[in-house]
């Protein structure tokens, strides 16, 4: 019986449009959760996949011990693809020529991600493709000249003779940060045993490369990690590319924006449900007077809510999935080999969000509605339906639960929740002050203005929730708009237009003048020459360092860096370095060293410690005078150790320099290679292009989120204005009956909303500025600078948004003839 009544009422309510606001709010909450979490995952996975190309795999396990078959077997059990790679420095002999080179040994399946490009020829412009087969060596271009060899010649490596197969054109995981390394050579894993280079004690880096689905990789990592020894560690991704921190910030931002969007949508749902309940109080009283029990009413209205929830959920899931699909498609345009992965997480997250919103925001007003006593039927107007304490509490709990659910971070969610609550409290207090001020202001104003002020004052008190939600909505829109600009600006600053994209390494003292004249001739702007000397850290405070980790974990001896370091000397602190402790070299500094913070921590080095370096067989001792933080994401030469100029000036050094070369002039690089054959040119064009692509992708995602936030904010405004519709109808009917003209009512209405918008915009601006300045200083580490645009945009946005939305919803009421309006009001 109740079902047929419920069904009939449901369809009629749908056509009356009241349930749509609730439905749309829930739809928006679900849609934004699904799309945001899906898009975040998509962008993240795209970035991971792109970063994977920098390490030629999805995951890399580094080891100083020979390969263990059990690790490979375990990976293969989990359907992961594997490859092995070894790296060591060794001498190459070709006739009378000999040269130290970095030998990279790879298995046939290398690389798992990215592309290894080898060509049969001795220059990178060679056209004939080649593949790595046992018995062959592929050389970096400069080695052909240095060794005086050509394709097909034989080179001795250890005890083996191997044939030159061609040139390395692109090596996906070539080191970026290690400028000035030895020339590189690639050979096959099958040949390594015959060279007899791998002996106990020889310094060899082993890498296991893995690729596969995220889920399998995660399982693999979590199972394998506890079994790893001190010699084995997972390679961190973020050091390998300039996108690690950009990705992290974008993720944080998406998270924050998503949370706030949900909160807004949930508020809209709560307001709409309250209004719905308010409007149905009398209907429920009538039905009860006619003999319905509370349980029957709950079934009727509960089924309405359930249908709305199911409908919104379904639409939200579909819309969210469509948005994810669109973004994945967009990513595929950038990344042709991007593998879109379907994830259930956004879907269940969206469903859970919908249930929480419905239960904790919308169900409470509906529950109270059903408890309306039958006696209300004789009261007119029906009792005002205000938010009760329980609803405030359940609403607050719901907001926090959503924040926690979505972020998965307890502290962040509590912090953000308290922040929102604090803002609400400040707004409430400010609204109280303003309303008090509005009274004296009203005196001596024109009657339309008086009416507007009077209306504003009365309604603000009747529902100060309205001003809070308006302000919060505008605040969020402003905050996200400016944060987005800040974030994008920061990324762009990281790689400014015209930043050096070609790095020159191994420049000898005598080559500097050749390079300078070449640069002058071709209008190239060379940067600073960084001197580089290779050296090994051998002791700290008279304590000799182990050069490798040993099996004896209890050894008290400190483990060194394990390879030669690029040492430089500079009189000035580089721009992208930041002193954490100590002070930079004074003009007459003697025997000092500035150490990079991470390596200082790893080596347990403190200010004042003495470091002993072995440079070309000589020992040099330097005292640690400062610890520096280095921005590894900057595409600049970075150094672990910077020594005071007095120490190294007498050692023969090579230099690093960099310049910007536009894409159409790359042919100059060939000229340069002929002119200075021993200088290595490292082009970071690809990396810059990739970073720019990623910035573009993330920017699109951020704009999409801003759009969602704006829609959610507008929806809150609509729900709020709708909530006062009834009261306005009554007032308008009375005013019209009393002879108020259309123009008068229109002006009063527009003014009321403009004032409300200005107030909300003003509050929003103030809060947004405080928040932005905090974020600017805490997160982006930028100097304090006010956002002047915000100060006009906030109030203007408030006035325009609130007035337009208010007018759009209420203009219909103004057009209804007075008599008809009166009848409508009288008939309820």
């Amino acid at each position: 019986m109740w079902a047929s009544i419920a069904w009939r009422l449901f369809w009629r309510e749908l056509s009356r449009g009241e349930l749509w606001v609730i439905a749309f709010a829930l739809f928006l909450a679900v849609g934004s959760v699904v799309s945001l979490s899906g898009i975040t995952e998509g962008v993240k996975s795209a970035l991971m996949q792109r970063s994977a190309q920098f390490i030629a795999a999805d995951k890399v396990l580094r080891s100083s011990q020979p390969f263990e078959q059990r690790i490979v077997d375990k990976a293969e059990q989990l359907q992961l693809k594997t490859a092995q790679q070894m790296q060591f420095d060794s001498m190459l002999f070709a006739g009378d020529n000999l040269r130290l080179a970095t030998i990279k040994v790879v298995s046939s399946s290398y690389p798992l991600r990215g592309e290894l490009v080898l060509k049969r020829g001795n220059v990178i412009t060679a056209t004939e493709a080649a593949t790595l087969t046992p018995g062959q060596l592929f050389l970096e271009a400069r080695l052909f000249d240095l060794l005086g060899v050509a394709v097909g010649d034989e080179i001795e490596l250890g005890m083996s003779r191997l044939q030159v197969g061609g040139v390395i054109v692109n090596e996906p995981d070539a080191p970026l940060s290690v400028f000035g390394g030895a020339p590189r050579v690639i050979m096959h894993l099958d040949d390594v045993a015959a060279t007899e280079i791998v002996q106990p004690g020889s310094r060899i880096g082993y890498r296991y490369l893995f690729a596969g689905s995220t889920e399998n990789l995660q399982q693999f990592e979590s199972e394998l990690t506890p079994q790893l020894s001190v010699h084995q560690r997972w390679q961190k991704m973020d050091r390998e590319s300039a996108i690690g921190s950009a990705l992290q910030r974008a993720e944080r931002f998406l998270l924050l924006a998503g949370l706030l969007g949900i909160v807004l949508a949930a508020c809209a749902a709560a307001v709409a449900a309250s209004r719905y309940s308010q409007r149905h109080t009398q209907a429920v009283a009538v039905i009860k007077a006619l003999g319905a029990t509370t349980a029957q009413i709950r079934l009727i209205y509960g089924s309405h809510l359930l249908l709305v929830v199911l409908f919104s959920l379904l639409c939200g899931l579909i819309a969210g999935q469509v948005a994810i699909g669109a973004v994945q498609w967009g990513i595929q345009l950038y990344l042709p080999d991007y593998r879109a992965e379907f994830s259930m997480r956004p879907l269940w997250l969206g469903s859970l969000t919908c249930m929480i919103c419905a239960l904790l925001f919308a169900a409470r007003p509906m529950w109270r509605l059903a408890a309306t006593p039958a006696i209300e039927v004789l009261k007119r107007p029906a009792a005002k339906f205000t938010l009760d304490t329980l609803q405030w509490l359940t609403g607050a709990a719901a907001i926090w639960a959503l924040m926690w659910l979505f972020s998965g971070e307890l502290v962040l969610s509590i912090g953000l929740f308290l922040l929102c609550a604090g803002f609400a409290a400040i707004l409430m207090a400010s609204a109280a002050v303003l309303v008090r001020l509005a009274k004296p202001m009203a005196a001596g104003q024109s009657s339309a203005r008086k009416l507007a002020l009077a209306n504003l004052k009365r309604r603000l008190w009747a529902n100060s929730f309205q001003l809070i939600t308006f302000s919060l909505a505008i605040f969020l829109a402003l905050l996200l708009y400016f944060l987005r600009a800040e974030l994008i600006g920061q990324w762009q600053r990281q790689i400014p237009v015209g930043a050096p994209n070609q790095f020159l390494v191994n420049i000898t003292e005598s080559q500097r003048s050749v390079l300078d004249s070449f640069a002058a001739e071709h209008q190239l702007e060379l940067g600073q020459y960084y001197p580089v000397v290779r050296g090994r850290l051998t002791a700290i405070n008279d304590e000799q360092l182990q050069q490798e980790a040993t099996k004896d974990d209890r050894s008290q001896q400190r483990v060194g860096v394990g390879r030669e370091l690029n040492l430089t000397w500079l009189s000035q602190l580089p721009d992208n370095n930041q002193l954490l402790s100590g002070s930079w070299f004074s003009r007459d500094a003697k025997a000092q060293v500035s150490v990079e913070a991470e390596i200082a921590e790893r080596l347990e080095v403190k200010l004042g410690d003495s470091l002993v370096f072995s440079i070309g067989g000589q020992m040099v001792t330097a005292k640690v005078s400062s610890i520096r933080k280095v921005d590894w994401n900057s595409l600049q030469p970075n150094f672990y150790m910077i020594l005071s100029p007095d120490l190294l000036a007498d050692f023969p050094a090579t230099y690093i320099n960099a310049f910007y070369l536009s894409a159409e002039r790359t042919a100059l690089l060939n000229q340069l290679a002929r002119l200075l054959p021993t200088v290595t040119v490292i082009s970071v064009d690809n990396i810059i292009a990739q970073v720019n692509d990623i910035i573009a992708q993330v920017t699109i995602a951020l704009s999409f989120i801003l759009l969602i936030i704006c829609i959610a904010a507008a929806l809150v405004l609509v729900a709020q204005v709708q909530a006062t519709l009834e009261q306005r109808e009554q007032e308008l009917a009375i005013l019209r009956t009393l002879g108020a003209r259309y123009a008068f009512l229109r002006n009063a209405l527009l003014l009321e909303f403009a004032l409300l918008g200005a107030m909300a915009g003003g509050f929003a601006t103030l809060l947004a500025e405080v928040m932005l300045l905090t974020v600017q200083q805490r997160v982006f580490e930028l100097p304090f600078s006010p956002h002047y645009n915000l100060w006009w945009m906030g109030p203007v946005l408030g006035i325009v948004m609130v007035t337009l939305l208010g007018w759009w919803q209420l203009k219909r009421l103004l057009r209804i003839p007075g008599a008809q309006l009166m009848r409508k009001v009288l008939q309820g």
Binding site: M1, L9, V286, K288, L290, G291, T293, P373, L378, Q827
Partner: protein
């Protein structure tokens, strides 16, 4: 001579409401008896407490003191839902402002109480009543599409669909012009007579009150000068 059956019996009813400034007693010590099939008017000016009395007699509200029985059932001891069940089975209402559900058609408004009471032939009963109130052609109209008089006719049809033993009417013609109001009153009394329903009518209109067999006059929450014919059986 048959002893009339007592249908509604109120004993020393009082209603006090709490206000922020203290409490206000709306009804003082009201006792009355209404027999089955009787038509009784409760007359008084605005604020005299007549609507409050009606709400207690119909079980819409509970008294602060006193007892009220409807067909022998002690309404003052029943819960909201138990009283709802009593209303569903035995009570019909006609309100001053009609109180039709705006989202249901005329016919659906009429059949609503029957559906709530689980009556199977609700639709055919509803159509018959529409016919009786002269609104067959308006069955699928929504309240907003009907005039005030038409809406009240629908409300009367709704009140009779469950064939209630007692009908409570709260100022049924107050919102209507004199001619329409007259027609509505005629319709109410006609249907009442046909179904032998006990009618309790609250009004400030003396002419309307005179059409009832008995009148209770109220002032400031007390009876004054009531027609005492029916009080013989107060017990």
């Amino acid at each position: 001579m048959n002893t009339p059956e007592v249908h509604i019996n109120a004993v020393k009813l009082a209603k006090t409401v709490k206000l922020t400034e203290g409490s206000l007693t709306i009804l003082h010590d009201i006792s009355l008896t209404i027999n089955r099939g009787e038509t009784v008017a409760i007359v008084g000016a605005s604020g005299s407490g007549k609507s409050t009395l009606l709400s207690l007699l119909a079980g819409l509200d509970l008294p602060s003191h006193g007892e009220v029985y409807l067909a022998g059932r002690p309404l003052h001891t029943l819960s909201e839902d138990e009283r709802a069940a009593v209303r569903a089975a035995d009570v019909g209402f006609v309100f001053q402002s009609f109180l039709l559900l705006p989202s249901l058609t005329a016919l659906e408004n009429i059949t609503l109480p029957a559906e709530l009471a689980g009556i199977k032939d609700a639709r055919s009963r509803g159509l018959a009543l529409l016919e009786q109130v002269g609104l067959s052609a308006r069955a699928d109209f929504f309240p907003a599409q009907l005039s005030g008089g038409e809406q009240q006719r629908v409300a009367i049809a709704r009140a009779f669909i469950t064939r209630p033993a007692v009908l409570f009417a709260d100022e049924p013609s107050a919102n209507l012009d004199a001619a329409t109001g007259q027609k509505i009153e005629d319709l109410l009394f006609t249907l009442n007579a046909e179904q032998g329903t006990t009618l309790v009518l609250v009004t400030h209109n003396n002419d309307l009150a005179q059409r009832c067999q008995r009148q209770y006059r109220m002032q400031a929450g007390r009876f004054i000068d009531s027609d005492l014919k029916g009080l013989a059986n107060v017990g």
